[in-house]
Every structure is written in C-alpha cells, then in structure tokens.
Amino acid sequence: MFKMTLRSVFSNKIRFLLTALSVVLGVAFVVSAFVVTDGLRSTFSDLSADIYSQQDLTVRPAAPFGERDGDLPPVPDQVLADVAALDSVVEATPAIFAGEVLVVDDLGNEPETGGPPVVGVNWTGNDALDQFVLIDGVGPSSPTEIAIDVNTFADGDYTIGNEYVVKGPIATETFTLVGTIRFGVDEDVSVGARFTAFEAETAQRFLDRQDAWDEIALAIDGDIEAAQAEITALLPQGVEVVSGDVSQAEFNDSFNEFLGPFRTILLAFAFVILFVSAFLINNTFNIIVGQRIRELGLLRAIGATGSQVRRSVLVEALLVGLIATAIGLGLGLLGARGLIALLESQGGEFPDGPLPLAFRTILVALFTGVVVTVISAMIPARKASTISPMEALQETSSLAESSNARRSIIGAVLALVGIVATLVGLFGSFEDATPRLTILGFGAIVSFIAVAVLSPFLVRPVVGLIGAPIAGAFGAAGSMARRNSLRSPQRTAGTAVALTIGLALIATVTVLAASLKSTVTESLETRVNAGYVVFGELTDAQVGEVAALPGISETSVIGSGEVLLGDDFDTDEVVEAESVNFSDIEALVDTGLTGDYTPGGNHVVLEKNAAEDYGLGIGDDITLSFKNLNTEIFEVSGIYEYTDILDAPVIIDTTTFTTNFAEADAFVLLARGADDVTPAQARTQLDTVFDGDENFEVNDQAEYLESVDQEISSLLSIINIFLGLAVGIALIGIINTLTLSVFERTREIGLLRAVGMARRQARRMIRWESVLISVFGGILGIALGLLFGYALATAIPDSIISGVSFPVGSLITFVIMAIIAGFVAAIMPARRAAKLNILDAISHV
C-alpha cells in the first residue's frame, strides 16, 4: 500500500511539483525568517561579547524612567576623576558616541546617512576597553586632528594628511586626517556603523559633551562586586555603575527589540503563503481523488478498508509535505543569504559566516510544511475513504459534490464566527495590541475559510454573468469555456479561492493606504500654514540662521522626548512629549486649539483625547518630570487636536525642552515665507542655509505632500510584492486544476476535435475557462478587500485615518491583473489540450 502511494506521488512529477511548490515557498519564508534573525542575533551577541568582555564595570547616566536615550544628561568629568582615583580601578576609559559626524571627502561627497549610525567618538588608544584599533597613520592627539574608520576611508576619497570639512552635531569645522581606525580588535565588528575619532577634549567640545562623557569603562582589580558597591557610594544622583554583563544583556535586548518585529513580519508573510497553499493543496487533492476514483474503488473491491484508502491519501500528502519541506529548507537558506544581501545593500554590514540552521528552525519548517499539507488533504482523504467499491465497476464516475445544505450551514456558522471575531478585534477595547491582533487574525482566517466554503454558491451567478459576454464573443469555444467553468462549482471555487485571498489582502492594504494618504493630505492642506518643512537633525545654529532670513517670517522647531506624568519615577506613566516654539506655532499650524500657547516655559498644551484620559482641562496644573531628574509643575494653557505634524499627548515649549533634555535635538523645522517675498525667493534663501546637504530635506507644502505620498506608496509596494507571492501561488493552483481538468476531459476534448473543433478553438476554450476562474477569484477577492479595508479604516482612530477612500484605479488594475493571471495560467494546459491526438484521446479511458 505504501509502495503504491509512493509510486502515485512520483508517477506524476509535474502535478507533484506544482502542488509542492506552494509549500516550498511557504517553508522557505519561514526558514529565511528564522535563519536570518538567528544569524543576526548571534552576530550581535558575539559583537556585544567582544565589546563588553574587557569591561568589568561601566559608569553611565542612569535612566530614571523610559528608554536609555540621548536625553539623559552625560556623566560629568568629576566622576571620571573620582572613579579613576580608586585603588580597585586599574583603568578608566571614558567614551563619547555622538552623531551625526560627517567628513566631507576630497570630491565634496559625504558618507551616506539614514542607515546605521554615523557618529563621532573620542580616541583613547585603549582598544581593550573600547575596541577601537589603529589601522593606518596615527591616532588623533591634537585639537585639529581626526581619524576615520576604514570603511568610510575606503568608500570615499580621502588621503591621510589632508584637511577635511567635518560636520558635527552643533558646528562645522576643519580637521586634518591623521589615521584610519577600525571598530573591533580582531575583525571589523562595526556592522555598518561609521566613526570619526577626535582627541578626547576636542570630542567633548565638538560633539557637545561639555566636561562630560557618555560612559566610562572600567577595568577592576580584585572583587568586582565590592568595587561596584564602592563606586556606587561616590556617584552623584543620575549616574550609575553596572557590570559588563548588564551592559551586554542590554545591548542584546535592544537589538532583539528590533529583530522581533522583523521576524514577526516575515513570519506573517510566510503564514499568508502557507494559508493560501493550504487551499491549493486541498483543491489539488480533491481533484486527484476524483480522478483516481475507479482505482480507489478497485482497491476497496479487492479488500482495502476505508481507513486504508484514507491513509494512502494522507501518506501521499505526507510525502508531498516532507519533500516540499526539504526543498523549502534549502531554498530558505538561499533566501536568507538574499535577505542579508538586501540588508547590506541598505547600508548594513555583516560578518560572513555560516547562517545558523537551528534545530528549532528545522522543527518549525517540518511542522509548517508537513502539517499544513496533511491537514489540507484531510477532507479529500475522508472523501476517498467513502468511495464505494461499486465505483470500480462504473463506466464513468465522479466524486459526489458535498451536500449543499451541509455546506451552507457550515459556511454560515463560519461566516458568523469570522465576522463576530473580526468586529470584536476591530472595535473591542483592549489593553494591548497583541490580543487585538490575535482576535483580528483569527477572524480574518475564519472569514476566509467561510468564503471558501460558501463561494461555490456564487459560481453560478457570477461566472454565469461574466461568462456571458465571453460566450457571446468567442462562439462555441467561448460558451464551452463558460459551461466548463460552471460544470463543477466546487472545483471552480476551490481553484479561485487562493486568488481570492491574495487579492483580498492586497485590496485591503491598498484601501488602507489610500485612506491614509487622503487623511494626511487633507490635514496638511487645511491645517499646515508653514509653507516650508525641513527634516533633519537641526543644529541651533541652523535654526538661528533660518529665523534670521529676511524672506522667512515665522519659524518653529519640533523636538521630542520622553517625560514622566508626575514625580514618582517608579510608578508614574511615561509619555512622549513634543516641543514647539509656543510663540510661533499658531502662525504655522492650525492645531485646532482651544485656549492658547502661553510662552515662557510655564505652560503645556495637551492633546484632546489625552487631556480627557488625564482628567485635565485648561487652567489645571500638571506635574512633569524629566530625565535630568527635574520635576516641574505646569499649567495647561490649551487643548489641541492631532495633526500629521504634531501628535504627542503633551506639547511643551522649546524653552522647557532645551533646559531639560540633554541632546534636545530638533528634527522638524517649520517656516513661513515673509509676506513681502515670493515663494521662490523664500525658497532660495532657505536652500542657502542647507546648501544641498543631503541630510536635510527641505520641502515646500507640495513637496512635503508628495514625499508623504511616496513614503506610503513605497511601503505599499513592498507589502504588495510579498502578497504578490500569494497571487503567484494562486496562479499555480489554477495551472494545476486546468492541467488536471484537461487530463480528465481527454476523451471529451478528443471528441470535440473529432467533430470539428480546431486546435485554436481548443486552446481558446481552455484559456477562457482559466480567465473565468481567475476573474471570479479576483472579483470576490477585491470585494472582500474593500469590505475589510472599509472595516479597518473605520476602526482605526480618526487621528490616523479619518475617512475611507477607494482607489478605483488600483482596483481596476487588480481586475486586469486577474485576467492576465488567467491567461498565463492557461498557457501550458491549453497547449496540452490542443496537442491531443484525436484517436488516442477518444480511446482514452
């Protein structure tokens, strides 16, 4: 029996490959996701081990709440002196990491930014504690010298000994390049980060760390815990000392925080692919069982039990699953290399090395590949087991279509569960995103299964309707195509459902993107009066220059950072605050304000929903604490409504921001042209300040709109490329069904050819049948996508999406895509049908 199953798998290699291919892709995605993230994780944990292995203790700013970020005040010089004086401290190496620092090369080019960090550091010459080694020349030892990392040196046009313009976080100065350095003692462990090293005091000055350091690495002689206690005792408030293990663990955690979502996204795509594959496998096995009905009947007649027949189908699925998983594993490893290459092309650099194929990865791959295949084959297998031995004796026989009554009841129950779960997921109240997404995902899955169960009922009306013009236009071949696709509604629907799911997801995302775009556009058009928006890490000098331009009337910078709602660092809530110039903001953005922006640093403005949450109104007091341990009481002077430019729950004045936040970086500059200059003049003046610097994006309103538009579009196209894979699998499903149908109808096609159907007509008949199936799937998918998109857009808060917009153009494109998909899928089966030898076909049993 097993032998027979094995032979049956291999006797039809193309069918087998097509069926397996979808599983292969899904498994490959899963494997890539795990292998890449495992690989990166181990790379980074090696890296952190290298960096922190020599550091017994690290002195650094303590985060009183929230994230460890640039807003913490650095460690003062005095601490370095105090700690270095201790007997237990063998070595104390201070470090600064601050950015961005860009060295303009001989050709006037700057290193690329936007990828891994491009930072300035202090040169210590102590590679054991800070991992920086000299490769060429000498280390910077005077206030005018710098060294740059070997990667920057190699990528740009630099010569040791030449002078270079260096753009720092607060100023631009000229330095002499004296050497090249590398991060990593034994090998480059920079992972794409770029460094410029300065002499220590110069680093403090140029990188905006007056008399202070970001951290101090310590080598300890003797008992480390005792030394830690000793040091803790002499540290001022806001400074802490932690062991190298803690630093290392935090480093790993921060990286895992980035890797987690990355993996989740990859796995989500893998899930979509496997989900679509499940339908394809189910449909293929249904057809295969239908075609082997006489063979299976014969088996039953000569003594195979129902469960033996069922098992033989399941074993066949198991084999398909196993082989597909094996191939998928291989492909996944290749795909992982591809993903790494993709990340490297975005500026990351990773040490070469075998990508780790963890045992867990193999288990997950086996589980997904094999289990998905076997589960998908369960219903066909059950049908196979009920085939009566009498079938072996029938001249022609076909598998009974399952009962409509049962189908509609099951479908209705599934649809109800799916809709309820989706609605609960969308509109229910949840503390966390995870349960909401879980319920939403469950709802979507059940809804799709309901569609798969119910869609056979739609075949007759929908295919009948869209088939009518085809039947009219293409004569006998056209009407045969229409009738063939109506012949078995379950098969047509089963074939189309993969395409339905793929297109439903694409249409959902497209509707969301369109709605998001129109919301953003509307809010920008009606509420932003700034005229010009500059993005980038703005220095005070630049902001001052812009404000001084004669062609610019008002400016405001926006910065952001974490604040504590209250003064209890352990229990109070941490929220994001944005800073604006209270005196200018109203002229630049219509924030839908009630009350006013009272300048002077004693007032804050709250977002409307946040104010309701906090139970605060205009005139009330609010206590805020900052990372410099400062706690102040502010009066609420206004309540604003969310805009695309401002969205934090708390808005503070720029004065408050610069006093309490260490880096206080502004990342957006809003500016308004003066009334007595033309927009072109204002723009020209603005451009002179930023002088074509790639790190600043100067936009007028239209450009800003376009850049937002482009951002959404490029995100959309990335998502759609991945979802396109699901459509590709759907295509395979259609090819599979048509190939099997042509085989099944060999006699019939032979007969049609015998009574005068031309080869061309035979081809056309198959082709239009394929188009009908794919357009049916496409229309259903788009309709579902519109529904999902509408529901999602309604459920997302108005602050992000305020209205639904349907991108008609894109939707028409999708229908055309479905038609093309139908044509493409039909190429091989149609050729096969046309090539049939008439006599052989007619004698085919």
Partner: protein, 249 residues
C-alpha cells in the same frame, strides 16, 4: 436449518429469495426478483442473460459490493446483510476474488505487486509456492516485473486472474472477463480459468453474455427480467446460443 448446513458443505455461495429494487412507485425497477440460487464449490458457473436481466446485479450483491433489498445472500455460511462495512471489506479481502472487464489493475504497481495486493492490504504473507504455481499456470512467469501499461490487454487480464487466485478465495466473481479481448486471447483466459477450477480446485462464477465464453463453464444459469429462467449443465456454445436466442437477446 438442516438444509442450510447441508448446503454449506457443497455451496461456495448462495442466495435465498434475493431481491434488489431500485427506485420507488412508478419508477420502481426490480433488478433481481426473488432469486434463490447456489454455486457449487469447485465448479465453474456462468451467469447468462440479456442486457438488463440482472446478471451483474446478482453478482454484485452476492460478492458483497451492493446490498440486497430483500432476502439473504451467503458466502460459505456467512450471511452478508449481517455484516457491517468493515466486515464486508475483510470478507471480500479473504474469501472473494474479482476479475472485472476492464480497469482491473492499479497502474502504478507491477504485475507481481498487483497479484499480491490483496495480501498486502491484509498485511498477510502470500503463500509463495502457491503464487508461483498460479503465475506459471497463467503463463506470466517472465512478465511479473512489468507495469500494466507495458502489458497487452490479454496479459493484463491474466494478471487479474492470477490476482483473484493468489489469495485462494472461497469464490471468484468474474464480470465479463473477456469482454474487451479478441476471441483468441479471450479463449486463452477462459482456458486458464477453467484449469484453475479443474486443477487448482477453485470456485468461479462468471457473468457473460457471450455464448462461447459460457461454453467453458460446467453449468450455465440463465437470467431474464431479474429471475432465473433456466440452467444448463456441461454446455456447448451452440446450445447456449440457441437458448439465448429463445430468451430474445
């Protein structure tokens, strides 16, 4: 039930007042109408009758492929309607052999694998000496590793005969076994079937409407309109043919 026990000693299969009715009311068709018949052990019996006479239905119901509407059907002394689906399957596997007109073989298995398939399904070891005996009797010794599509129609039917014989069933049912073959090849198959009965002691019941095929049997039972209308022992082709003409085939 003295008659029953007496019958079991000599009859491999029999029916008692067997009826098979399809449809209801106006559309009611009696494919079998109160048939009582027995097939002797170690004999080669042919069932003949015109199309629609119920001969295939008789065979299917006796072989446990199709349930009777009324009456009983026995293989040995086991009454079929008392068996559930699973027990019927096991009965077919152990005590019944089949030879169909076409589509007898699993295309993906070799001749030998097809022959031993019922034993493989039952997970029992084939009696090697017997299987070899059967294979040489049907003249397939040099063809056992071939796939069905590498064999001629006659060879395929011989494999089917060998499969039916391989598990030494209580009874073999053959449904038009030569229907798809030319007369010379058909004659060879019928020779093998007859020698299986004479030399190997098997019991075969064959449904046919070919008078020549029926002449190979020991006894012919004639059916018309679902009823047994006559029977003939030691038939000749001419006698059977004449009789069939009288039945209006």
């Amino acid at each position: 039930m003295e008659t029953a026990s007496a019958a079991t000693s000599t009859l491999a299969a029999r029916t008692q007042n067997a009826s098979k009715i399809y449809g209801m009311g106006d559309t009611e068709v009696r494919a079998l109408d109160d048939v009582t018949v027995g097939f002797a052990r170690g004999a080669f019996t042919a069932i003949m009758g015109p199309s629609g006479s119920g001969k295939s239905t008789l065979m299917h119901t006796m072989a446990g492929l199709d349930p009777l509407t009324l009456g009983q059907s026995y293989i040995g002394d086991v009454e079929l309607s008392s068996l559930n689906e699973k027990e019927l399957t096991l009965l077919r596997r152990e005590q019944v052999g089949f030879i169909f007109q076409a589509f007898n073989l699993i295309p993906t298995l070799s001749a030998m694998e097809n022959i031993t398939l019922p034993m493989d399904l039952a997970k029992t070891k084939p009696d090697q000496a017997w299987v070899e005996n059967v294979i040489s009797t049907v003249g397939l010794a040099d063809r056992t590793s071939h796939r069905p599509d590498e064999l001629s129609g006659g060879q395929q039917q011989r494999v089917a005969v060998a499969r039916a014989l391989a598990s030494r069933p209580e009874i073999i049912f053959a449904d038009e076994p030569t229907g798809n073959l030319d007369s010379r090849t058909g004659g060879e198959i019928l020779d093998f079937m007859r020698s299986a009965v004479r030399e190997l002691g098997q019991t075969i019941v064959m449904v046919t409407h070919d008078a020549v095929a029926a002449s190979y049997s020991d006894r012919v039972v004639f059916l018309a309109d679902g009823k047994i209308v006559d029977e003939m022992h030691e038939p000749t082709a001419d006698a059977v043919f004449d009789h069939m003409k009288s039945l209006g085939d």
